[in-house]
Subunit: 113 residues, 2 copies
């Protein structure tokens, strides 16, 4: 067990020291350094979270909420700092997905044999 | 990017060579070496899959299916080879969960700062 967790910690350290992580952190700092941009981003995230929670619980999403969400998406896309952060998040999410695929390979092979 | 994926592949290799993985593979081979045990296990997994799919799609699960599932759980628990496999799977699942927690730490810290 020690060995697997040591190896996972080595991966964690590699992520911390990666260009992708530094880039994501930089975009995040850029958004949070500006009060108006920070508020826009936080509102966007909160609305996303509310809508996702409703969707998971199969609650009704009102027409007003849909319009509100669309307006937020437009505002967010027009903000270069937030667009850059969302793009960096997407890149990191792709990296995490690739990590998961690699790490789960031994188990997948076991069950597909 | 190369470095993160290299590090993920090193973790994959550590998992392949781990005692936990060897143990899981052994329990899996034990179950599949015996035709009756294999059938019991496959039926159990197929029923689990059917019920989980129904649950996710919020389809009705019949009383008959619940009784069938309970009977399968009893039969499976009484089979030592299958119990040993389920226990090995649970252990591996705990390891995977710990790996995920370690690997996601840098991102969690970024968002909780
Ligand atoms: Ca521009
Ligand atoms: Ca016994």
């Amino acid at each position: 067990m020690a060995t697997i967790l040591d190896s996972a910690k080595a991966l964690e350290q590699t992520i911390r020291e990666s260009a992708e992580f530094a880039h994501l952190k930089q975009q995040y700092d850029n958004v949070y350094a500006d009060e108006a941009t920070k508020k826009l981003f936080d509102d966007f995230r909160n609305l996303q979270f509310t809508l996702q929670t409703k969707q998971m619980q199969r609650e009704e999403i009102t027409q007003e909420e849909i319009i509100q969400a669309q307006e937020h998406v437009v505002a967010v896309q027009q903000n270069e700092k937030i667009s850059a952060l969302l793009e960096a998040e997407q890149q990191m999410s792709n990296v995490i997905q690739q990590i998961n695929q690699i790490v789960m390979k031994p188990l997948e092979e076991l069950y597909n044999d």
